[in-house]
């Protein structure tokens, strides 16, 4: 017995710091499989359970994860990646090159219907040269392919070959190489993860639990009540409450997201630039922002701290006289308190997604402002599927309230290029197209910066959207969680180093 005492005592601080970290998501993932998961909740869970060949280090520079080393061919058309030899899957099987090849092939297989297939579209072929070496051949030359090898690797032995299916049992019994393994997928949609004892580094927290808390307003309260240890995103209205609490700490992080009021350029009325400018000048954006939270006004498709933001372009200011001038120029007539087109009072339909927090407040205030200015606005709140149908496919709206979130690279091409797959407002400007193409191909950062700032200026002038604001984003963590470093996009990337009392 006394021989066990010393090791046990030595382990005591670790045991005391093991803990169960509970965090909330608005909706728990339906499945845990990184080749299908692409909501942020799923991305965060994948970060706990799976790993990629490369990842971010604490300075957000690319660093090997499952890869030990790599060598890029001189012609930059292929690379060889050597895997670490000390990695085991959660079921004890060793990681092999076949797993990497399998993952890439699965994502590229049409029958798999992977929603993440775009992440491997640049890989022409993947071959296992031996148990630990993979050769990747690219579609075209790649200067830094490691930056694109963040996608998570799946275990070949856990599937019955290709194609992989969403309905495979893997979805609730995933096998990864990550610092935690999925232990329980509970009926109430909570998920329990336990530390993977075979992980190559120490993991500071024994257990992580995802709790589904659909009511965002309640999430902050649960942190205060010590029923949760982490909140991925704090609602702006809860900041003051949490800031003053000594048991919780706030961690700001950069999300590159902004709100906008989009105009449907496929509709005759809103296709008119003067009408759009006039409508924009009727809106008191500061008054819309005030009840939502703290943030900064924007004048274009970037957040103000973005290197691409053009500070010479001022945000739109409410100006009733100027608005009247613009609306008149756009062919509208003011009849008493009402604006009319062709003798009929203007009624616009605005749509907003129910999933966007605080959108109801903003929409109601917007409606009230436009009503006072003589324009009737019908507001409809749409669930995700209806939004996709009406906004993305049917373009069945006049105005839309929405939010875009970009990763660090802030590529707005899909939203504003005439061929962009997310340009559902129907914006077309050949000059902007040319600028976006040039920015994409630029190898000089000064040139890319200047080009996108010019694009900002042109887009702001065209007003396909009234650019509203960016909000400050915070995570909240219990003070019991130590050594916290949060990844701005994936949240849990550095979680193995966290500890808990």
């Amino acid at each position: 017995m006394h021989r066990l005492l010393l090791p046990a005592l030595l382990l005591l601080p670790l045991i005391a710091e093991a803990g169960n970290l509970r965090f909330a998501e608005d909706q728990a993932p339906a499945l845990v499989n990184p080749i299908y998961g692409s909501t942020m909740a799923e991305a965060r869970v994948n970060e706990l359970v799976f790993e990629g060949l490369y990842t971010d280090d604490t300075e957000l520079a690319t660093t090997p994860a499952l890869a030990e080393s790599s060598r890029i061919a001189d012609d930059k058309l292929s690379m060889e990646v050597t895997l670490r030899s000390d990695v085991a899957w959660h079921d004890g099987q060793p990681l092999t090159a076949d797993d990497v090849v399998f993952t890439i092939k699965a994502m590229q297989d049409r029958a798999t219907a992977s929603t993440e297939s775009g992440r491997v579209a640049w890989i022409a072929d993947a071959v296992a040269l031996d148990a630990r070496t993979v050769k990747l051949t690219f579609v075209r030359m790649e200067a830094r392919p490691e930056d694109k090898l963040f996608f998570k690797i799946l275990p070949k032995h856990a599937f019955n070959g290709l194609p992989v299916r969403r309905s495979d049992t893997f979805r609730t019994k995933p096998v990864g190489t990550g610092p935690w393994r999925l232990a329980l997928f509970n009926e109430d949609n909570s998920i329990t993860f336990k530390k993977h004892d075979g992980w190559r580094d120490a993991v500071g927290i024994d257990e992580v639990t995802l709790r589904e808390v659909a009511d965002k307003n309640y999430q902050a309260k649960l942190v205060l009540y010590e029923s949760l240890e982490a909140l991925v995103r704090v609602l702006p209205r809860d900041l003051a409450m949490l800031q003053n609490n000594r048991k919780v700490e706030l961690y700001p992080y950069q999300t590159n997201s902004w709100w906008y009021l989009g105009y449907n350029l496929n509709r005759p009325l809103t296709a008119n630039a003067s009408v759009r400018r006039g409508l924009s000048e009727l809106v008191d954006v500061d008054a819309l922002l005030a009840p939502v939270g703290t943030g900064a006004r924007i004048s274009g498709p970037f957040v103000p701290s973005s290197p691409y933001y053009n500070h010479d372009v001022e945000p739109t200011v409410a100006d009733a006289d100027e608005a009247a001038t613009q609306l008149t120029a756009g062919g509208l007539v003011q009849d008493g308190d009402t604006w009319k087109k062709d003798g009929r009072a203007i009624t616009l339909t605005a749509v907003a997604p129910t999933s966007l927090e605080s959108v109801q407040e903003v929409a109601i205030n917007l409606q009230s402002q436009l009503q006072s200015a003589g324009i009737k606005l019908d507001v409809q709140f749409l669930d995700d599927a209806t939004w996709k149908q009406r906004v993305w496919r049917d373009h069945d709206y006049d105005l839309l309230l929405g939010q875009w979130t970009f990763d660090r690279n802030e590529d707005i091409r899909e939203q504003f290029h005439s061929l962009g797959t997310r340009n559902f407002v129907g914006y077309k400007n050949p000059a902007v197209d040319a600028l976006l193409d040039k920015a994409r191909d630029a190898t000089d950062p000064y040139v890319r910066k200047a080009t996108l700032r010019e694009a900002h200026k042109l887009i702001a002038a065209d007003q396909p959207m009234l650019f509203l604001w960016t909000l400050d984003s915070y995570a909240a963590m219990s003070v019991r969680v130590k050594n916290v470093l949060i990844h701005p996009f994936y949240f849990f990337t550095f979680a193995p180093k966290w500890t808990m009392k």
Binding site: L60, R144, Q403, N409, P445, K449, V484
Partner: protein
Amino acid sequence: MSPSALVLLGALSACTGSESAPEGAAAPIESSWMADLVAAPASFAERVGGAREGWIALHRNDWRAAAAAGGDPEARSAREFAKFYAVLAAMDAEVWSRMGRAWSARGTLPPASLLPWLIGAALADAGRDEEAAAWPAGEAAVPSVAERKRLHDRVRAGAADLGSLEATQADALLVEPVEGGARELADPWVLRTHARVSRQRADAHAAVDQALFSSDLGAPLHLPAAPTDPGADADACRGTVRELDASLDAWRTSASANASPEGRQLLDDLRLVEGARARALVELAVTALESDRPTCALALSHLAIDHESPRAIGPVNSPTLFAALASAELRVGHTREALDAIEVLVAPWPETRGLDETLSTLVVLEGLDRRGDSRE
């Protein structure tokens, strides 16, 4: 004592390394200027005298207005300027250094550009001679740039006024036309010029009242001992802040209970505790930066910010706070987050525009090959 017991003791003491009690915890706040003011609110008018407007400006971190008021507020604001520009100047050198390294690593430094020379000039000016040696030196090849350098030298020597820089300090130093656009290169000396001049001014003034609206909480606040694991530094510093907060909370509760209505009003309206706390944490953050403890500086800066208005300069959020925050973010490799912090300073402090531009170039450079993604 048996060998195993010694091992046990050693292991136990090592295990407590990251949790050791921070040094210089919780000040005796009762002896601070805050306590004096709350106890005798009528003394405030006497204390500020005829420079009331200046003191109020100093309180809300409007140093230019404080300087214009003269007297002690001017002297105190000179010190604030000196600290502020010192942090920015150090950060500026770091940005140039990182940009140089990142671009060199890519092997695509523009050949016919003044940029490599500017990188060397920035590093040499900052005293980072070893790094500067890797870059071109000598007189600038472009006359306008050489002329600008000479102007900076004159201002630093006192032969020209700082105002002679003001008209152009926010503009690009040089615009190089390149295929597909233009390269706007920033002035690598401006912040160091401001730092030197402000240091000279601060040394020339000696304020009588050093305490009012200062970071003084009755006794100096120290950084905790650096833990053996640098990864635990942020937590150690957070521990210091928690202890400070516990003391401040306790003092505020008793002060509020015992103070007169006027005293309570002073405490709440002027946000004396929040302001003093923030100033103390910012000073500590600057010390952490100077001690090469950027994760500690980052933690302290985050804890100092008034999150109810996180982008506004005011009684809690000073310009130095944002400078320290930006510098700390940069030093831990979070260049994009550093841009966030600097952004707050650019409009009121146009001399930071060059730093902002160089930093933004670095951010773009770091992400040049990365795939962009977006979601609703």
